[in-house]
């Protein structure tokens, strides 16, 4: 057969076999399997026929993130021009928001973040794959998309690069790569940025494009987030629909609760993300918010308190502002770092929502705690699972003991049961 009759796919397969056992093979295979399914089948053991391998799973999450990314590009421009010229009187979606002018600001600010995040992260992944001699793992596909969406818009690119190297190496590779990490890598990157460069990660200047550069001058603009206003006890001027649809300042992709909700529904119906975690996290945040509202209603906290602004904030609005919705839908549901058991997922999600709102209210210096809450629960997820499984074993053992007809060899049966439940 002449070479000309080979398809592109076949040629790649031939190349792959040619480079087998070479040092660069994992790097080549990564590109190869990104385009085509591998031509290998397992030769022994059990076979699972499924369309959703890790790469497809990751791609589905990215699809759910694309609307958020596009919205964030328009919002970047909208916030930028509104901060300079004032918010439009009669807001119209087509004339004020979805304009080329806005989109261009988004292209020049958000796109470099995406490129740096993917470029640096994948270089680290490739280096580790070549050193360790395993295949390049797909885990970074989603992380690389999440990272630009959870940072302030004018984050210097070199900071992002440093943070990505730190997050991928310390957050993931030292534990053994994708699937072995304890902490969510995207949030590790966010946490590193926050603790390393706090002046670029909080305050009222970082959320709007160019606000930092213009600060101190005659054209100074400010773009305080709603949580920032509340933490200082000031009034904010955004309506509830602004908050819900996301026409507010904030981290690049966190603002539009509406699109995040759509993305979340898409992930639930494609069975990629766990609805239990999402629902319980929402419940958790509502419970904590209600508790704070109750404290205010009782009159225990008065307007003189520095917590008053955030505590009196209507409990359900917590879901609309800040990164809570984004964190719940895209970060808390990470299958690697979250809880695995169904009951564990309820507990894990509940505490994420609960702690997020708690940190938000009690930390006036930085009125956003979603990433800290999720990282904290990431650490506890294995413990939660452990006790859920132990509880299940105990319950079933008890049922076994109380059963009227005992198997003759009850010792053996108990052992068997244990093996099955674990």
């Amino acid at each position: 057969m002449s070479d000309k009759r080979l398809t592109f796919k076949k040629r790649l397969h031939i190349l792959k076999h040619h480079y087998r056992d070479k040092k660069m093979a994992p790097a080549f295979n990564a590109f190869h399997t990104f385009l085509f399914a591998p031509d290998e089948t397992t030769h022994s053991g059990s076979h699972v026929r499924a369309a959703d391998d890790l790469k497809r799973t990751m791609n589905t999450v990215i699809m759910a993130l694309v609307p958020v990314l596009l919205f964030s590009m328009f919002n970047a421009g909208y916030q930028h021009f509104s901060a300079i010229n004032g918010f439009p009187e009669n807001f119209s979606l087509w004339n004020d928001f979805l304009t080329w002018e806005n989109f261009w600001v988004g292209i020049t600010t958000v796109l470099p973040l995406v490129i740096v995040s993917y470029g640096v992260g994948l270089i680290v992944e490739f280096i580790f794959a070549v050193i360790k001699g395993h295949e390049v793992e797909e885990g970074y596909l989603v992380t690389g998309m999440l990272v630009p969406l959870i940072v302030p818009i004018d984050t210097p690119l070199w900071m992002l690069a440093v943070a990505v190297v730190f997050g991928v190496v310390i957050g993931k590779e030292v534990f053994g790569g994708t699937g072995m990490n304890i902490l969510n890598p995207a949030l590790t990157i966010r946490a590193f940025l926050f603790f390393a460069y706090p002046t670029w990660m909080s305050g009222d200047k970082v959320w709007v494009h160019e606000a930092v550069d213009l600060a101190g001058g005659p054209d100074a603009i400010s773009g305080e987030t709603i949580l920032g206003f509340l933490a200082q006890g000031h009034e904010y001027s955004y309506s509830i629909s602004d908050m819900f649809f996301g026409f507010i300042p904030g981290s690049v992709g966190e603002t539009s609760t509406f699109l995040i909700l759509l993305g979340g529904l898409f992930l639930i119906f494609s069975k990629i993300a766990s609805w239990r975690i999402m629902l319980s996290a929402v419940i958790g945040s509502l419970v904590m918010g209600l508790a704070f509202n109750g404290v205010v209603d009782q009159g225990w906290i008065t307007e003189t308190s520095k917590f008053y602004g955030l505590m009196s904030f209507d409990y359900w609005k917590h879901l609309l502002v800040g990164g809570l919705a984004f964190g719940i839908v895209y970060m808390a549901t990470d299958p690697v770092t979250g809880a695995q058991t169904n009951r564990g997922k309820w507990i894990y999600g509940f505490f994420i929502g609960f702690m997020s709102v708690m940190i938000r209210v009690f930390n006036p210096a930085y009125p956003e705690g979603v990433f800290l809450a999720i990282l904290l629960m990431n650490v506890f997820a294995p413990t939660i699972d452990h006790y859920v499984i132990r509880g299940n074993i105990k319950r079933r053992m008890k049922r076994l003991k109380n059963a009227t007809i005992l198997p003759k060899d009850s010792e053996g049966a108990a052992k068997e049961l244990k093996a099955e439940t674990i």
């Binding site: 210097p156 440093v162 030292v174 590193f192 390393a196 670029w200």
Partner: protein, 215 residues
Amino acid sequence: MALLTKKDANLILDPLADNNPITIQVLGICSALAITAELKASIVMAISVMFVLGLGNVVISLMRNIIPSKIRIIVQLVVVATLVIIVDQVLKAFAYELSKTLSVFVGLIITNCIIMGRFEAFALANGPWRSFLDGIGNSLGYGVILVIVGFFRELLGSGTLFGIPVLGNPIEKTGLYATGYENNGFMIIPPAALIVVGIIIWVQRSRNKALIEDN
């Protein structure tokens, strides 16, 4: 090494690398995390520990045959406490600012596991000269890690070494800061020391596979 026999030299050299008290035995971590934000403090801490451990090892070794084994821990504590108080007072008298920086951690040398560990494991069973060498070796191994961690934390966290700005002035934006570089606030806080120590352990173990425990 004409001065020392090979066996004696190993007492000093082993703890520097393959039997390092911090990275291999994972002792004395607490102070390594707390005081390494500045290089100067790290070095003073290393010298203090060297004084306490070198001298303490000799004292314990001299008394090793008369200490009743039932109360040996108390005797050891008295010896350490005496030496630590000497260090603390000297620092307060001659380097007051530095002793402020080190705060309680000089006093906490008493509880540094390396010291009690060496007393128990070495000084109680060896002669004074060898115990002295062992003390110096272990405190050097401790000091090396402190200095490495302190170097990176001060350089990346504050842009200075021994308090001298080496990367330019962050407020006037000179030197490296003119390019937009900024100090890494993360390196100032103790968790960063944990990560730097972790990276040192990682590098050391990947260079010497014999150090990796199998489990």
